[in-house]
């Protein structure tokens, strides 16, 4: 339990981090030209493929702080110890989630006893073994899970998200 506090501390750094370089792919910005020319936009955001860790560094129930798709979107990389739907790695048990509560954006903490992420703000909780389903709480969406890929060297890449991340109206921030 108490080790979660450390994870929290790391996470708060992200929240205080302010505006550092925003990683990821920014959508092409087209200067207005006369006569009016339509702006080009893709139907969905283009997610970056970012390395977020390596399998050899993961231990069961010890979440590692990550950020995806940019430094201002904190998350965790987590080895669950049993295969789950959406899990990657040889054991099918590695998952990654946003840790901004989709209710009001408070940082979630990991509760290893039942593998849930819990919110200190309003007591919502999410199941890391079940796609981030809200077990109980106030959010109107389940927790954003990051899509992962593992290469031959065991490097883990985050390559997408399945719900809108709290605090941004585009998962990839666009100017």
């Amino acid at each position: 339990m108490k080790c979660n506090r450390l994870v929290d501390a790391g996470r708060r750094q992200f929240l205080r981090g302010g505006v550092l370089g925003v990683a990821g792919v920014a959508a092409a910005s087209v200067l207005p030209a006369a006569p009016a020319k339509a702006e080009i936009a893709l139907a969905r955001v283009a997610y970056p493929s970012n390395r977020v860790g390596n399998l050899k560094d993961l231990k069961v129930d010890e979440p590692v702080d990550i950020a995806y798709p940019d430094d201002n979107s904190p998350g965790i990389l987590l080895k669950l110890g049993k295969p789950v739907e959406g899990g990657v790695g040889p054991d099918g048990d590695v998952v990654a989630y946003s840790v901004l509560c989709p209710h009001k954006g408070f940082p979630l903490s990991y509760h290893a006893a039942d593998k849930t992420l819990n919110c200190p703000g309003h007591y919502s909780r999410f199941d890391t073994e079940n796609g981030g389903q809200q077990v109980w709480g106030h959010a109107t969406q389940n927790l954003t899970q990051f899509e992962l890929r593992v290469d031959d060297a065991g490097d883990i890449f985050a390559e997408g998200a399945d719900e809108l991340i709290y605090g941004r109206l585009s998962n990839v921030l666009q100017a």
């Binding site: 339990m1 929240l15 505006v19 969905r44 955001v45 201002n72 979107s73 739907e85 959406g86 901004l100 989709p102 209710h103 009001k104 954006g105 408070f106 940082p107 903490s109 509760h111 006893a113 039942d114 849930t116 819990n118 919110c119 200190p120 703000g121 309003h122 007591y123 919502s124 909780r125 199941d127 073994e129 079940n130 796609g131 981030g132 389903q133 809200q134 077990v135 109980w136 709480g137 106030h138 959010a139 109107t140 969406q141 389940n142 899970q145 998200a161 399945d162 719900e163 809108l164 709290y166 605090g167 941004r168 109206l169 585009s170 998962n171 990839v172 921030l173 666009q174 100017a175």
Partner: protein, 821 residues
């Protein structure tokens, strides 16, 4: 895998988007929201000048930001016939919720009907009439002509008892002052209908008769009292789930400021868990009493408080009745009402006797009494007392609520800062009708009249008895049989003229059939039995006024069109009145027809002016309310000064109690002694079945799931209603998490999904109430109190497995709801 919307960005609200005041139309708390609309081919941008928030949206926004909205807060709807973007998000400037959104309210936008996004396609769009063996769409004129002609055949000036009416009396949702006035003026003004009921109970009565008879209106405080109090005393209530932002935005800050909490509930709820997390376990006292023993507990608390001398003698002398008995016990009063001294004698119960009845330690009852009433530093200990369905729909309603109000009166904790004895509420309120005195007390038990074969025409206004009544299994069997008699008669005369068809229907109802007219927003379960279905609009599709649990009145501005030809209930009621007037004149019944005059409203605003405005001092208008925004005004409204409506923060601040109508304005105490399980059949049911089937609401499911049943996020979590059972009890029944069980007893059966709950007591379960795919009311017996208040909570049954978990149930998480930080 959990349901995901797969939305990676949302349209940005442009700086010039239209802004509308919205009060959430789900629970009583009435959180403030704003609806923003703008044309479909326009959008805002991330630059501060390009969006409604005036901030740089290319940056991550911080916790609690007002500058973000979830996909559930977005939709595309029709406004004045054109498609527009719609965002409905919590209002940070509303004093009720301070920008918080609940799991219900933050889905208002997603639960709007949209032809573009496909949401809520279940909403009714046109009137429908039973023809050719099914429901056929038709015009309002055609449908209402049939309703009027059949209804006119069974009512007369001197006898309207064959017209049965089920009509909502609430605010919010599709209720509100406009719509309760519309139906009220029709059934209690033009007519004097006696055989009627309310949306959630089988008679037309108050849920809190005793507190009103004692002079104390049930919504007497202000929400800010939770932040001013020393103790929160919560009974049969689970506010973090069912009055969410009242808990998070008012109770929680009070608890974090040091207030103590006493909770009375046979079940350990997530509210108790949250209070412990916020205050520490030493500040929270859970009296986990035996189901239905509340009255014994309250009488013992009252006895202890009096014995310790923790009463407010000055208040009792100045503000309560002096003497002995003011109102004797009779058929309309399940307990006598009178003086403090008379109550002390009648309610006497020792700590030890109560401990034996309630199954809690005498020392804990004494501790609760001290937390509630022991003066602090020589002054009154402030205590807010809040109760809800746990006792409203529990054993011996009248005496139990009366006993609770006794404690508030004895300690002088009503009408004062940090005090109040209030119900928490379900829907918002919005009641404005002519007198219901002709209904009588006790009121007719409508569902039992229907079961007994009485009545000929049934008008239903947003009531779904099939999901939200007691003795539901028998009710449904009878209702289906009687309405089918009429359907068969109509089918047999397919192709007949209107006159011939009306004759055929009247023949069927004279033979025991029932003609059913259902006004609702969706095709409900009871609507499956109806012969005419009339489509209504909801909050946001019309202008609508209501008040919340601290009597805060707001105007929800119309921000979108209703589906198809749907109309406000008040306008439907007016149209029924006008059609009845027309038909009665055609039949030469002019005296009776004259009673149906006065419904020539052009809009819901006219209904508001005719009802609320005209009957409350002619102060409140739409313009004035609109100007008061989402903070509105607390009723009663006393004036209009400096461009603002002037309201009343808390009732009875002058120590004068008038809810009972007594000229002396003195409150009465309730003389209700403990008498065991009061309602018929309850003791026997308890003796013959293993499990308590306690029941109530959950956070994410509003009312009977009427919109949620088509909401993917909600249905993914609980595809069928859950029943929480201790893991040891599950093992003894051979159950795994998610298995489908049948709950069965002497009156019926229903189904639920088994959810392990380690904090449940042995043989005590909790099932969600009102679900469409497993009606808990099927196993609630017909037993009511003397005033026909239903007793849903005290239900016992057996449980058996009927199926392994379905694929939908296998996807569900079965972990504990309790947070541990």
């Amino acid at each position: 895998m959990a349901y995901k919307r797969r939305i990676d960005r949302l349209p940005i609200i442009p700086a010039d988007a239209k802004e509308h005041n919205v009060t959430c139309h789900y629970c009583i708390v009435g959180c403030g929201y704003k609806a923003y609309t703008w044309p479909l081919n326009k959008q805002g941008g991330t630059d501060p000048g390009q969006n409604k928030f005036g901030v740089d949206l290319s940056q991550q926004q911080q916790a609690l930001t007002p500058n973000w909205y979830a996909p559930s807060m977005y939709n595309v709807v029709k406004q004045d016939g054109r498609d527009v973007h719609l965002v409905i998000k919590p209002d940070a400037d509303c004093v009720v919720n301070g920008g918080l959104g609940s799991i219900r309210g933050a889905r208002i936008a997603e639960n709007r009907r949209s032809d573009i996004t496909g949401s809520q396609q279940q909403r009714l769009t046109e009137p429908m009439v039973w023809r050719y063996g099914t429901w056929q769409p038709t015009s309002w004129d055609d449908a209402l002509d049939l309703v009027a002609r059949v209804t006119a055949r069974v009512i007369d000036k001197d006898n309207e008892n064959d017209l049965l009416v089920s009509m909502f009396d609430h605010g919010g949702s599709a209720g509100g002052y406009e719509n309760t006035w519309g139906t009220g003026k029709l059934y209690f003004g033009a007519m004097k209908v006696k055989n009627c009921r309310i949306h959630n109970r089988p008679a037309y009565n108050s849920e809190v008769h005793s507190t009103r008879d004692m002079g104390v209106g049930e919504l007497n405080y202000a929400y800010e009292d939770y932040g001013l109090t020393d103790t929160l005393f919560l009974i049969g209530a689970n506010p973090i789930e069912t009055q969410t932002n009242l808990f998070l935005n008012h109770m929680l800050p009070g608890i974090q400021n040091g207030a103590r909490v006493v909770v009375v509930d046979p079940r350990r709820t997530v509210t108790i868990n949250a209070c412990e997390e916020a205050a520490g376990k030493d500040k929270v006292l859970h009296l986990q009493i035996a189901s239905g023993s509340d009255l014994a507990l309250f009488n013992a608390l009252f006895t202890e408080i009096v014995a310790q001398g923790w009463v407010d003698s000055d208040f009792i002398k100045a503000s309560t009745f002096q003497g002995d008995i003011a109102v004797p016990e009779d058929s309309a009063h399940p307990a006598a009402l009178g003086s403090f001294e008379a109550a002390v004698a009648a309610c006497h119960l020792s700590l030890d006797d109560a401990a034996a009845i309630c199954g809690v330690a005498a020392a804990d009852i004494a501790k609760a009494a001290a937390w509630i009433a022991e003066p602090k530093g020589g002054a009154r200990r402030k205590c807010v007392t809040a109760y809800e369905k746990g006792i409203i729909w529990g054993n011996d309603n009248y005496r139990t609520i009366g006993a609770l109000v006794n404690i508030g009166l004895a300690t002088g904790n009503i009408g004062r800062e940090g005090g109040g004895v209030c119900r928490l509420g379900g829907h918002q309120e919005g009641y404005m009708r002519p007198s219901d005195a002709h209904v009588g007390r006790p009121a007719p038990y409508l569902d039992q009249l229907i079961i007994a074969g009485q009545g000929k025409v049934h008008h239903i206004w947003a009531n779904d008895h099939y999901k939200t009544t007691l003795n539901a299994a028998e009710f449904k069997r009878t209702y289906a049989r009687r309405t089918n008699m009429v359907k068969e008669a109509m089918d047999a005369r397919a192709g007949a003229t209107r006159e011939e068809m009306v004759d055929a229907i009247v023949s069927a109802i004279n033979a025991g059939g029932l003609f059913s007219v259902d006004v609702d927003i969706i095709h409900t379960q009871i609507g499956q039995a109806a012969h005419v279905i009339l489509p209504a609009v909801e909050s946001g599709e019309m202008n609508l006024t209501s008040m919340n649990g601290e009597r805060r009145m707001r105007l929800v501005e119309k921000y979108m069109d209703g589906p198809g030809a749907s109309k406000p209930d008040c306008m439907i009621a007016a149209a029924i009145a006008q059609n009845l007037e027309r038909v009665l004149r055609e039949e030469g019944r002019n005296d009776y027809a004259d009673q149906f005059k006065g419904f020539d409203w052009a809009s819901e605003e006219d209904a508001f002016m005719d009802g609320y405005h005209a009957n409350t001092g002619q102060i409140v208008t739409y313009d004035r309310l609109r100007a008061m925004g989402n903070n509105g005004v607390q009723e009663p409204v006393t004036g209009f000064e400096d461009g603002k409506l002037v309201g009343t923060k808390r009732l009875y601040a002058d120590g004068k109690f008038d809810r009972h109508g007594r000229d002396d304005k003195l409150a009465l105490f309730c003389l209700g002694t403990w008498r065991g399980l009061q309602a018929p059949g309850k003791e026997q049911q308890r003796a013959n079945h293993r499990f308590l089937i306690n029941n109530g609401r959950a956070n994410m499911n509003w009312q009977n799931w009427f919109l949620d049943q088509k909401n993917d996020f909600v249905m993914d979590r609980f595809p069928v209603p859950f029943i929480q059972i201790h893991p040891d009890d599950m093992a003894s029944l051979g159950l795994k998490p998610g298995d489908m069980v049948e709950v069965y007893n002497d009156v019926g059966a229903t189904q639920a999904l088994a959810y392990p709950e380690p904090t449940a007591r042995a043989n005590e379960t909790f099932m969600i109430f009102g679900a469409p795919s497993g009606t808990q009311g099927n196993v609630v017996n017909a037993g009511v109190n003397e005033l026909i208040l239903p007793n849903y909570k005290q239900t016992w049954a057996n449980i058996r497995k009927i199926s392994d978990a379905t694929p939908a149930a296998q996807r569900v998480s079965y972990k504990s709801w309790e947070v541990e930080l």
